[in-house]
């Protein structure tokens, strides 16, 4: 039935659409035939020919109307009038290019900001991973004593060779690279060693060049590398001819075969990927051999479920368990869904997500301001077009038809805005990706279909919301008055002005919310930057090196090297003191279960997870951290001498309330469980982030712990010595080991690069740009609306001037209106800001205590509110100034003659 119906109707519809002239002609002919026959009949009844024709026409009840009714039955009329409206709309826009450009640009900025933010939010947390079919990707971990670890190369080989659940199993190891041919230019880089199928497993195709080949995992053929996007950008200026060229890594030439896409690069991620030669990787270093680990990823076969692969991998993992301990499930292989990482993001990611949400909301506010701007422009235009609308209504156009027409026009504007926004976003994608990836590795802005659709939907929704009011308003006409009155703006002016003022007030309110949010975050940032660190970071250089895998594998070798280096540095002119630590301030610390002797007798020791840092003798004095009691480490605390420890103030207060911890003992819960005697209490200072909560911390002599990492803090005598010493360090340390490259930094740079400042900076940069965008839009909006209302009131102002009002009085008249509107906006905005800042976090996420939250400033901070309000008021005044001046120069003669 339906199909048969379509069989008849579809050809008819198509005919009405595409053979429109023909159909129209037939309609005219059909009605003409009827009229002719009717007229003939009437003539036969004896009417005169004129009367007969008129009577025939009358019997039709309005020929054109009937034709229109016939057209309506065709069912394509809506489409037709839409096309007609579009054509007309385009013509109208072309006739006022200034208006069109201003509106399109305003909208483009607003929609663009949102498109970009959507792209970021999409990639950061709405996203399915950028990998191909990510639901089939899994991680394989090993569980040891209930802790998740990366597996060993042998476990990788076993899974790769024995499992049947996976299409691909790939592994990644880690490597440090010294990049550059000659010592003075070299640079330490994080690298990754990957099995050739690594990128294939993920489904990542290189931006340039190719993936690794299978044969490249053999010794002798592994002289190839793939570069990360940011390394390629920074070091090779995005030169595409890098493919096939040789670069020098670890003093060995290798060939660049590929460059990865931008979204796969992250600030702390590997910069260089090389093939993993499994055997030599597993055997590197003698002592560490048992500790060599690889990350394993795998891609499930399409028909294998996660739980199937789990049971299979668990069986494969059994061979690695201690046979005597088979009963306990202390060590086994586990398979984890890739998405798990996204379901339970680590604290840094959660923090970054917070920041992204904040910026996304501010982008929304910018869009609202932009839409309000265009809304008031449309309203003003609507008043100007009053006559046109009146004439069209008089000619028989219905109100609905007028609304449709006006809406079509504004929708056109918004769609143009959306298109320009996409172009703008495309241009800025690089900068935005860079900003965002500083905050959250892996966040990227990629122009895809989703971004495109969102931009379109936002434009259309905004067009509906903000085009409707002007359309409703503009289509409402009082025919009699409009056509009679020579000045088109006299009627309807007042309600429209009220609406426009309302929109301006709304803009000011939104601007206030945005500025307050920005101000609070900026003040938090400044507080973090200047927070009491507990140590003196000025004039302190830092030096670190990475030990090559092949040498310095024994802890004693590392210790000897660092002591020699420190000794030599002390002799460098300008150096005041040198302190050694495995982890300098702002770099965090390791943690372990420590057993702490209780201060009261007969109470068993407390066991707790505690942060600890290994430091050298001069460390605290170099940082200018005072010892509160006891002594610092001295040179005697080498491996041979008795084991000692120093605790910080918070530790002492927490575990030894009211007593002196000196003389008590602490020990690691796991081996080595040597008892260490507390010999001193040191003043608190921040170890990971400038604004972190102080927590118990234990220091061990670095000579006793022999950690794998070593860094040095070098205090120089004066700021002038900083550059001097820094420039000489690498040469000065050449005699210690000519092969090593010493990475230079400073404590101030460490603070600048600390996690929380790094996280906060992009949010503040983005909010600052959105805030300035909002201010500019408010200026444009206020200027436009005030100019318009001055023009509208020319007659009134003329009369006032003629009656003796002075220039000041007129300026005051205009200023008063804007100020009133602005104040209304400020009140609403303050309330809004007050409400929205309730959602601002006031504490960090996770143990690092870092992140984006209000720090050292309350959400009702009066200074921030005051400054934001003052800024907005001055912006409003500035934007009102020119129109007010113009009003005061109105010549009463001209204004009144205007009548």
């Amino acid at each position: 039935m339906r199909i048969e119906h379509w069989l008849y109707t579809i050809p008819l519809r198509l005919r009405s659409l595409f053979r429109r002239n023909r159909v129209e002609q037939e309609l005219a002919e059909e009605l003409q035939y009827h009229l002719a026959r009717k007229t003939e009949g009437l003539l036969a009844q004896g009417m005169t020919s004129d009367d007969a024709r008129r009577a025939a026409l009358r019997s039709m009840d309005g020929l054109e109307l009937r034709k229109e009714q016939c057209r309506d039955t065709r069912g394509v009329n809506l489409l037709e009038t839409l096309l007609q409206d579009l054509r007309f709309g385009l013509r109208m826009l072309r006739k006022s290019p200034g208006f069109a450009a201003a509106a399109v640009l305003t909208l483009a900025l607003g929609i663009g900001a949102n498109t970009a933010m959507f792209g970021l939010v999409d990639s950061a947390f709405l996203r399915r991973l950028p990998y191909r079919e990510p639901q089939r990707l899994v991680h394989i971990w090993t569980l040891e004593n209930d802790d998740t670890h990366t597996p060993t190369p042998a476990q990788y080989q076993a899974v790769r060779d024995e499992s049947k659940s996976f299409e691909q199993v790939a592994a990644q190891g880690w490597a440090d690279y010294l990049y550059g041919a000659d010592g003075s230019l070299s640079e330490n880089l994080r690298g990754a060693l990957v099995t050739p199928n690594w990128f294939l497993t993920l489904g990542v195709r290189p931006l340039l060049g190719r993936n690794f080949r299978d044969e490249e995992q053999r010794v002798g053929q592994d002289g190839v590398v793939i570069l990360s996007y940011d390394f390629w950008q920074n070091r090779f200026h995005a030169d595409p001819s890098i493919i096939g060229q040789q670069i020098v890594l670890n003093r060995r030439p290798v060939t660049v075969v590929g460059v990865l896409p931008i979204w796969s690069s992250s600030k702390y991620g590997p910069k260089i990927f090389a093939p993993l030669v499994l055997n030599s990787y597993a055997n590197q270093g003698d002592e560490r051999a048992g500790k060599v680990r690889v990350e394993i990823i795998a891609r499930l076969k399409p028909d294998v479920t996660l739980s199937q692969s789990r049971s299979e991998v668990e069986v494969i993992g059994d061979q690695f368990r201690n046979p005597s301990a088979l009963a306990d499930r202390s060590q086994r292989l586990v398979v984890e869904d890739f998405a798990e990482m996204f379901r339970h993001p680590p604290p840094t990611v959660q923090n970054a997500q917070r920041g992204l949400w904040m910026t996304a909301v501010s982008a929304g506010i910018v869009l609202l301001i932009a839409c309000a701007n265009v809304g008031s422009l449309l309203l003003a235009r609507g008043v100007k077009r009053h006559r046109e609308v009146a004439v069209r209504t008089a000619l028989g156009s219905s109100r609905g038809r007028m609304i449709r027409q006006l809406l079509t026009e504004s929708t056109l504007l918004f769609l143009f805005g959306g298109v320009v926004a996409l172009i703008l976003t495309r241009w800025c994608a690089q900068i935005i990706t860079k900003l965002a990836s500083d905050m959250l590795s892996g966040a990227y802005l990629q122009m895809n279909v989703r971004v495109f659709i969102v931009s379109l939907v936002v434009s259309l929704l905004a067009a509906l919301a903000f085009g409707m009011i002007p359309a409703l308003h503009g289509s409402r006409v009082n025919l009699n008055e409009s056509l009679k009155d020579a000045t088109p703006n006299a009627p309807g002016g007042s309600p429209s002005r009220r609406l426009r003022n309302g929109l301006v007030a709304g803009q000011v309110a939104l601007g206030m919310v945005l500025l307050v949010a920005f101000g609070l975050l900026l003040r938090s940032y400044l507080h973090v930057e200047t927070s009491r660190l507990g140590y003196d970071p000025h004039n302190v250089l830092t030096v670190a090196t990475r030990f090559p895998f092949t040498r310095y594998t024994a802890p004693a070798d590392r210790a000897r090297l660092m002591h020699e280096a420190a000794e030599r540095l002390r002799q460098l002119p300008g150096v005041e003191s040198v302190g050694i630590a495995d982890s300098l301030p702002m770099n965090g610390a390791d943690s372990a279960q420590l057993r702490i002797e209780a201060p009261t007798p007969k109470v068993p020791p407390v066991q707790e997870e505690i942060w600890f840092v290994s430091v050298g003798p001069e460390y605290f004095s170099t940082l200018k951290v005072p010892m509160l009691s006891g002594r610092s480490f001295d040179e005697r605390n080498g491996q041979a001498s008795s084991s000692v420890a120093i605790v910080n103030e918070t530790f002492a207060r927490h575990f030894f309330p009211g007593s002196n911890p000196i003389g008590y003992h602490i020990a690691f819960a796991d081996s080595p469980t040597t008892e260490r005697e507390i010999v001193g209490v040191v003043s608190d200072f921040r170890q990971r982030n400038p604004e972190e909560d102080l927590r118990p911390l234990v220091y061990f002599p670095i000579a006793q712990t022999a950690p794998p990492r070593w860094s040095m803090a070098i205090r120089v005598r004066s700021a002038g010595d900083l550059i001097n010493v820094a420039s000489r360090i690498n040469n000065w340390l050449q005699p210690v080991d000519p092969q090593l490259y010493w990475e230079l930094g400073s404590l101030e740079a460490e603070i600048h690069d600390s996690e929380s400042l790094t996280l906060r900076r992009p949010v503040i940069t983005l909010l600052a740009s959105f805030g300035s965008l909002a201010l500019i839009l408010v200026i444009v909006g206020v200027f436009g609306v005030t100019s318009y209302s001055v023009a509208e009131r020319t007659r009134e102002i003329g009369i006032r001037t003629a009656l003796g009002a002075g220039h000041l009085k007129i300026v005051g008249l205009v200023l008063r209106e804007s100020l009133l509107v602005a104040c209304a906006g400020l009140v609403v905005g303050s309330l809004g800001a007050f409400a929205i800042t309730r959602f601002f976090p006031t504490a960090g996420i996770g143990w690092s205590g870092s992140g984006i939250f209000l720090y050292g400033v309350s959400r009702t901070d009066s200074l921030t509110y005051g400054l934001a309000a003052a800024l907005l008021v001055s912006v409003v005044l500035a934007a009102t100034w020119a129109p007010a001046g113009r009003a005061s120069r109105v010549d009463p003669m001209v204004a009144l003659r205007h009548e």
Partner: protein
């Protein structure tokens, strides 16, 4: 501006379908026939006839063809389609049910 004809809503469709079921006709002829067969009781204005015809055409119930009329002029002739015939049966059935129900009510004796 246009008053709906005095016909019961929807009955114009039924009338037109019935008239065209008898023989294909052009618009003018339909108007004449309407007056003639209903003995001038049913007044359908010439104006509302054409939108109604076009509606039936767009629904696929009648189809149009240009032919020479009885006075040798080109005119648009409408005829019933298969779909239209089915529609006519349906509407005629509806009408019979409705009119018998109404006449039944009207004939009720007052107590």
């Amino acid at each position: 501006m246009s008053k709906p004809s005095d016909l019961v809503q929807g009955t114009l469709d039924l009338l037109l379908l019935k008239i065209l079921a008898l023989e294909p006709l052009n618009g003018f002829a339909v108007s004449q026939r309407l007056k003639q067969i209903s003995c001038d009781v049913l007044q359908v204005s010439d104006g509302s006839l054409y939108p109604a015809l076009h509606k039936l055409e767009q629904e696929g119930w009648i189809t149009a063809e240009w032919k020479l009329s009885e006075n040798n002029r080109r005119a648009k002739f409408y005829s019933l389609t298969r779909l239209g015939r089915r529609q006519l049966e349906k509407e005629a059935g509806n009408w019979n049910r409705l009119s018998s129900a109404i006449s039944h009510v009207v004939k009720l004796k007052e107590a």
